[in-house]
């Protein structure tokens, strides 16, 4: 990989002044926003905003996790619900049926997801392009139907509900009893930061260059001595572990899982959408995607949009349309995913982040 290092060196040589300057601004921005996120619960008391933030963190984690496999390595898995569900189910089953605390179960879930990923990878990575996509969907569906049918260990379609969450203790001091949103907020934030930092480290490492070489041209990468099977499986393993962490976090936070919510095809599609809408193969793409998607679908779900339409006088509350929107719009929050993805694919195929980067580049030229 000396050639890659060399290329990097040339860039630094050619732009000696521009590089450090360009780095200082984003670095301060990142530091300020991360600091702000850690301080946020001090100023914000609204549980609704904290709830939204937790959901955003979970989405950032799954989005970034998918991005490692789909964005950097170019393997479009539309079956990531399998790893999300394996994590969620392992944690929940250990908690409800074996009384294992979730902060231990979550690592068991990650281990289970890793094993799953290695098995699935060894089967599905023989396939390429659309065939890989179809195989990944089929595998996730096998998991969903199995969870539905193995009633004695998964509770089947009834799902698993947390009846009691043990308090987190160090020695005898209780740190939190999980009755508020704040502990979940910090757990989510820390996990999301870890996943983003690891993504960045991977992207800038030798491993990341191998991933990208496979994405650009698998056969050419292979002929240069990069073992595609090995590195595709490594990308999947990393991706699956992070996805399962998000799954476990979601399960414990919401307190309830069933096969269709944590193993369904809808979830797999939503995971891909986070990256597509934000920008595939970029570190901050999934962050942008989560920031756009979560508030939008939550606004639809909680009828904020209907309230706005009524309050602004566009739709009358007592009219048929108003009643209809109030009744139904909340159920159709996935509609926004559909509309957004069609717009993004047709008009900004590099995602929101790529679109604005291009716009900025054009302005600089002009």
């Amino acid at each position: 990989m000396s050639s890659v290092g060399h290329a990097d060196f040339v860039v630094t040589q050619a732009l000696p002044a521009a590089r450090p300057k360009a780095r200082v601004v984003p670095l301060t921005l990142v530091t300020i926003s991360v600091g702000g996120l850690f301080m946020l619960p001090l100023f914000v008391e609204s549980t609704y905003i904290l709830h939204m933030m937790v959901l955003i963190f979970i989405n950032v984690i799954v989005g970034s996790a998918w991005n490692i496999l789909g964005g950097y390595t170019g393997q479009y898995s539309v079956g990531h619900a399998a790893y999300f569900g394996v994590g969620a189910y392992t944690t929940m089953m250990l908690l409800q049926f074996r009384q294992v605390a979730p902060w231990i179960g979550i690592w068991a879930g990650a281990g289970a997801a890793l094993v799953t990923a290695l098995i699935i990878g060894s089967i599905c990575f023989r396939l390429r392009g659309p065939y890989f996509v179809l195989a990944s969907i089929a595998v996730a569906e096998i998991f969903r139907v199995s969870a539905l049918n193995l009633k004695n260990i998964t509770n089947g379609a009834e799902g698993i509900l947390i009846t009691e969450l043990p308090p987190l203790k160090i020695g005898e001091t209780v740190i939190t009893d999980w009755s508020e949103k704040i502990p979940f907020y910090f757990t989510g934030l820390i996990f999301a930061l870890i996943v983003i930092v690891v993504s960045r480290m991977v992207l800038r490492s030798k491993l990341g260059y191998f991933f990208q070489a496979i994405r650009e041209d698998q056969d050419a990468a292979h002929s240069l001595g990069i073992n595609p099977t090995l590195y595709k499986n490594s990308a999947l393993a990393l991706s699956a572990i992070f996805t399962s962490l998000a799954g476990s976090l979601y399960a414990v936070y919401v307190g309830f899982i069933d096969p269709s919510t944590v193993l369904g095809l809808d979830l797999s599609v939503q995971i891909v959408m986070i990256c597509i809408i934000g920008g595939v193969g970029t570190i901050f793409g999934p962050v942008i995607g989560a920031l756009v998607l979560v508030p939008l679908s939550e606004a639809l779900r909680s009828n904020v949009i209907t309230d706005l339409l009524i309050r602004s006088g566009i739709v009358h509350e007592d009219s048929k349309v108003g009643a209809f929107l109030k009744e139904n719009l909340a159920h159709a929050h996935v509609l926004i995913y559909g509309i957004l993805v069609v717009i993004v694919i047709l008009f900004m195929p590099e995602g929101i982040l790529g679109f604005f980067k291009k716009l900025a580049a054009r302005r600089r030229k002009a």
Binding site: Y76, V78, I123, R126, L127, G129, P130, Y131, V133, L134, A135, I137, A138, V139, E141, I142, V145, S146, L148, N149, L265, D266, V269, V272, M273, I276, E327, N328, L329, H331, A332, V334, L335, Y337, G338, I339, L340, V341, V342, I345, L346, P349
Partner: protein, 288 residues
């Protein structure tokens, strides 16, 4: 033994309808190399259209295919011209995501309009059955199989004998060569997508007397359609016909002997095995 024969026959009968769904998907893939992830949602639209015609105008679901299929043909042609046509040269991932997005819009728009309640279209013959050689078979299945056979025969005639049909097959074989021979490839794409949609709508109409109708019903059929087309070989119409019947039998017989909850697993395991050991499908020639 009687149970086996009974499940085998009902498998073949339902397999005929599956074949129709698979043929629609395979024609679209053959001509445009686009995997249509909204295929099941188009079928769902066909089901709702049939349901609407039945409840408002009291048109028999099997007769209403004459209305719903042409309507959905136009809708499919519209989808191709406005959306799919723009991504024909794009990355396969983007094509897949676009059709997923369109499918989500369709199913959620239907949910918005008609809620996610299950609707049942019950005709006078919905639960009746006929006895053939001492084996009783649900009569809507028999009627729908007869109609499926007629539609499939007409389709084969269209593809093999008419000029447009031959042009569609030529486009599927080699888009560039077809263009050089003076075939209007763009038009063929529009017709192919319309045709695929009309077939999905017809299948939707055919199963509506025996199936629950709800906005999310599509995804089950989208997955089934993939299995069928991959099994038969992507782009092969005969393969899709065979694949449909095979999946019908596997589901029906497997459901009886392994348990109805597991029948989907049987289908997906079969799918993975074919993908791994014969990715070109049972009748496919090449992968590209």
């Amino acid at each position: 033994m009687e149970i086996f024969i009974q499940s085998l026959i009902s498998g073949i009968l339902i397999g005929g309808v599956y074949a129709l769904i698979g043929i629609g998907l395979t024609i679209i893939f053959g001509v445009m190399r686009v995997i249509n992830f909204a295929h099941g949602d188009l079928l769902m639209l066909g089901m709702y259209a049939t349901y609407g015609l039945f409840t408002i105008f009291h048109i028999d679901p099997f007769v209403s295919i004459l209305i719903t299929a042409p309507l959905l043909f136009l809708f499919g042609a519209f989808l191709q011209k406005v959306f799919i046509n723009r991504v024909l040269g794009a990355l396969p991932q983007n094509q897949i995501l676009l059709t997923i997005g369109l499918g989500l819009i369709m199913s959620n728009a239907m949910m918005l309009a008609f809620t996610s309640d299950y609707k049942i279209l019950s005709t006078t013959y919905s639960s009746s059955s006929v006895k053939i050689l001492g084996i009783s078979i649900s009569s809507p299945l028999v009627i729908s199989f007869a109609i499926t056979a007629a539609i499939t025969a007409a389709l084969y005639w269209f593809l093999l004998k008419t000029n447009t049909g031959q042009a569609i097959r030529a486009t599927a074989q080699d888009r560039e060569a077809a263009r050089l021979m003076g075939i209007n490839v763009k038009r063929m794409s529009i017709i192919a997508f319309g045709l695929g949609t009309a077939l999905a709508a017809a299948a939707g109409g055919l199963i509506s007397p025996t199936y629950y109708i709800f906005p999310q019903v599509g995804s089950v059929f989208t997955l089934k359609a993939f299995v069928i087309t991959v099994l038969g070989g992507m782009g092969s119409v005969i393969g899709a016909t065979l694949g449909g019947v095979l999946i019908g039998i596997a589901e029906s017989v497997g459901g009886v002997y392994i348990g109805s909850g597991w029948k989907e697993v049987i289908v997906f395991v079969l799918f993975l095995l074919v993908l791994l050991f014969k990715p070109s499908g049972l009748l496919g020639k090449s992968r590209t």
